[in-house]
């Protein structure tokens, strides 16, 4: 596919987008004429599954793909840049492979977006009229940016080989692509921000100030959270792709390359996920600042059970990442030396996981309720944020140590100050762990506001300082280190690849569930406090129903992703045959 000329490629992309958009408008127009008029309060009910479930599934699928096509270019360009500066062909290849992935995913993203674009005005005409009245101009800017993004994306992809000798300019095109992506993300986040934490309108929903309607409480923290989560998610999908290719590889060379690709992608995913809790915290603070009731409902009220599920899954992801790193020691010459440390890391992560998933709200039988009551001393202590923040930071620190061990396991430092360096490393790890634990315990004794605004940021700060210091120390200590042997890429058991796939599936499910919680925080409002949802579906579904729908979305998403993987493999085979024949 990359053999096409740049012009042909770009024109193809633009035509594709225009056809999709044009078809959507035509379909919308036709359906409006054909379907019966909406109810008096502005709804059309989709039979069988209902309008809400339909929009939920389509919107989440569209969002998953959008996250992918916005997240992957960030690290594709970074890889291309690094490959160019270090003259590393392998980095350039991985960047190109990532680009192949997201260019193919663009079409699916646009198609799903088109389905959503047709569904929303048909099923919720009054609500969409309101949104257009308040934020209509942003929609037209969105279309313009979308054209810009498609142009740059296809240009970036189709010019890859032709601009081999002008890498600097090509990287700049990639940067422009990311600027476009971030603009799109900002626009769409402003819509969600307005629906959840509205501003700039009167109590009756009349526009007072459009900029205020865009610049809501949620806008920037949500955009930041989505931006980072998109990178994590995109890298996760790339890791799953690499794992899939590893499992189906026919040669050792292929296995070696996809093993390396899986490792690189997984480390990008987990690296960026380190900052997600901090940004999530910021988002939470803004929601509380907008409306305390919404904050309590999201964190401790009706949605408390979903946080327990979230905790279980995030803990499982951390375990799977560490598992992958520990298994990876098998392929490192000299890696065996470090297995003795794995058991300590395991204990730390095991205990961290136990604290992290301890629920505050519990399901009790009558007998248990009689004996325990509503308050349990252990669950009361471990089920609150003070302990959870501490547990997750310690677990992240242990994960970083697993990563550091993997990186240095095939090296032997030769600097004269090795012993001092190792002592400093121990002091850094023990000192920061003690500091984080101490701050965690002290958090129980101070007012909540001090914990939220002072101690928790300090805990995260200590953690980041520690990992930066460890990274710098290792860089100095292992400079010019004796290499025991090169990593045996490809020498990994298949179960390690299933761990990568499991991480990505869990991320996807979590994204769906967290998205539902964020939307559910509005309860029976389309626009919180401004426009009520008066449809028969204006109720929060049970957690079981929500989980089933999120699971359906996840399965559908991976079926579509599998289709993309299959298409790439088919195209590759086709290109190979053409070259051979």
């Amino acid at each position: 596919m990359a053999e096409k000329s740049i012009k042909q490629g770009v024109i193809k992309g633009i035509i594709k987008l225009t056809v999709i958009l044009g078809a959507s408008f035509v379909l919308l127009f036709m359906f409006r004429k054909m379907l019966p008029a909406p109810t008096e309060d502005g709804y059309r009910l989709l039979p069988v599954i209902g309008s809400r479930v339909w929009v939920w599934i389509v919107a989440q699928l569209h969002l998953n793909f959008a996250a992918f096509v916005l997240g992957v270019p960030i690290f594709a360009v970074t890889m291309e840049f690094l490959g160019w500066r270090r003259s590393d062909e392998r980095l350039d290849r991985i960047a190109y492979d990532f680009t192949k992935l997201f260019t193919l995913a663009y079409t699916l993203t646009a198609l799903l977006g088109a389905v959503l674009m047709v569904s929303l005005p048909l099923l919720y005409p009054k609500f969409i009229d309101h949104m257009m009245k308040i934020l209509g101009p942003t929609w037209w800017v969105y279309i313009l940016v979308m054209y810009g993004e498609v142009f740059v994306c296809y240009y970036y992809f189709y010019s890859w080989k032709r601009m081999k000798d002008r890498k600097g300019i090509h990287v700049l095109i990639g940067v422009l692509l990311n600027v476009m992506g971030i603009l799109m993300l900002l626009i769409t986040s402003s819509w969600v921000g307005y629906m959840t934490t509205p501003g700039g309108v009167s109590e009756t929903g009349e526009l007072v100030n459009r900029w205020q309607a865009i610049k809501t409480y949620m806008w920037i923290p949500l955009s930041l959270h989505r931006l980072v989560a998109n990178v994590v998610f995109g890298a996760g999908i790339a890791a799953a792709y690499a794992a899939f290719r590893f499992i189906t590889a026919r040669s050792d060379d292929e296995r070696a390359y996809y093993d390396w690709m899986g490792y690189t992608s997984a480390m990008i995913a987990i690296g960026f996920s380190l900052i997600l809790p901090g940004i999530g915290y910021l988002l939470g603070v803004e929601i509380y600042a907008f409306n305390e009731q919404m904050g309590i409902q999201l964190m401790g009220g009706f949605f408390a059970w979903l946080w327990v599920m979230q905790a279980i899954l995030i803990g499982a992801i951390l375990f799977a990442v560490n598992y992958y790193l520990w298994i990876s020691l098998n392929k490192m010459p000299g890696g065996q030396r470090y297995f003795k440390y794995v058991k300590f890391l395991f204990v730390v992560i095991f205990l961290g996981y136990a604290v992290w998933l301890t629920p505050h709200s519990v399901a009790l039988s009558l007998e248990e309720a009689r004996r325990i009551g509503s308050y349990h001393p252990a669950l009361g202590k471990l089920g609150v944020m003070a302990s959870k923040n501490t547990a997750v930071i310690i677990s992240y620190l242990a994960t970083f140590i697993s990563f550091a061990i993997f990186r240095m396991s095939n090296k032997e430092p030769v600097v004269s100050w090795v012993k001092t360096g190792q002592l400093i490393r121990i002091l850094l790890i023990v000192g920061s762990s003690v500091a984080v634990l101490g701050l965690g315990v002290y958090s129980y004794m101070v007012p909540s506001v001090t914990r939220v605004k002072v101690l928790s940021p300090i805990q995260f700060g200590v953690f980041f300082l520690c990992i930066v210091a460890l990274y710098l120390l290792d860089s100095r200590m292992y400079k010019g280190a004796r290499i025991i042997g090169e990593p045996k890429w490809g020498k990994m058991p298949e179960r390690s690849q299933y761990a990568l796939i499991a991480i990505t599936v869990t991320f996807t499910w979590l994204m769906g569930m967290m998205g539902y919680m964020r939307a559910g925080g509005r309860q029976y409002w389309h626009v919180y406090g401004i426009m009520k949802d008066t449809s028969p579906e204006a109720y929060l579904p049970s957690h079981g129903t929500a989980s089933v729908i999120v699971t359906i979305v996840t399965v559908l998403f991976f079926l579509l992703v599998a289709f993309i993987f299959w298409s790439i493999m088919k195209l590759e085979r086709f290109s190979e045959q053409r070259r051979a024949g």
């Binding site: 408390a304 009689r370 007012p447």
Partner: protein, 268 residues
């Protein structure tokens, strides 16, 4: 029965230790799971028992985590699978295989089916939310009070604060003490009669986690103001708006925080 669980934990530990010496990760895994289960159940010796839901969660985590642990190194993983492979494939394990496939597994399946279908007179497990969300506003004897952002008006009057706390103490002993206790530990005279028992106010993980507006709402509206997720039918807390004035409720709140050594949660 509770005294029996430390023995279970010790038995598990013994299996685990023997398995380490005999280099059998599979039985080490089994021993560890028995130990973890015994320890979780033994917690009831020093505190109220852990709920079944929490034990299930911890056990699932333990199984998941240790399966991971025993599959990190190729050799250990092979040794871990060996007993299963041997039972399924070795000729000399034929009797064990037959017993397992034709007797033990059907018996287990039968028992599970029986346990799931036998009639039970236990009410269904209640998934109660400990920290319910307050409403935006409440109707207090015909007056609308906005709960969001509400502050204790008496706290600003620093000169009279001591007097208010003293008055709050009297109100507490006339109204709350019977259930919530002399020591504010939720162990009042009537406490044993309620299911679930009244909440304690001591400790940094009780009312210190709540703003005063929340406590005001709970006292004023009692069980009937709880949202459905918090199972209002599972609470005996009266709606004190029927017995106390707005100011009296604020006074008793001052006393509860003062006497328990806690500070209310604030956002700024």
């Amino acid at each position: 029965m509770t005294n029996f669980y430390p023995v279970v934990a010790l038995l598990g530990l013994a299996i685990s230790l023997i398995s380490v010496f005999r280099k059998s990760p599979f039985f080490n895994f089994i021993g560890i799971q028995i130990t973890v289960y015994g320890l979780l159940k033994s917690a009831a010796l020093i505190m109220p028992p852990l709920p079944g839901q929490v034990i299930t969660m911890y056990m699932a985590m333990s199984v998941f985590a240790f399966l991971i642990y025993f599959s990190i190194q190729e050799e250990t993983f092979r040794a871990f699978l060996e007993p299963m492979r041997a039972v399924l494939a070795d000729r000399d394990k034929r009797i064990l295989r037959v017993v397992l496939v034709f007797i033990l597994i059907p018996l287990l399946a039968g028992y599970i089916a029986y346990a799931k279908t036998k009639p039970s007179f236990e009410p269904p497990v209640s998934a109660r939310i400990v920290h319910p969300e307050p409403p935006q506003q409440i109707d207090f004897r015909g007056k609308t009070i906005k709960i969001l952002g509400l502050e204790n008006p008496l706290r600003k009057d620093t000169e009279k604060l001591k007097d208010y706390i003293e008055e709050g103490k009297k109100i507490y002993y006339q109204n709350c003490f019977f259930c919530h206790g002399d020591d504010l530990d939720g162990k009042g005279h009537f406490a044993q009669a309620f299911n679930p028992p009244p909440l304690p106010f001591r400790g940094t993980d009780t009312i210190a986690q709540l703003p005063e507006s929340f406590v005001f709402w709970r006292i004023a509206k009692g069980w009937r103001g709880l949202p459905p997720g918090s199972a209002p039918w599972d609470s005996a807390m009266p709606a004190f708006e029927d017995f106390l004035s707005e100011e009296e409720i604020w006074k008793v709140i001052l006393f509860i925080y003062e006497a328990s050594g806690n500070k209310p949660r604030t956002w700024e």
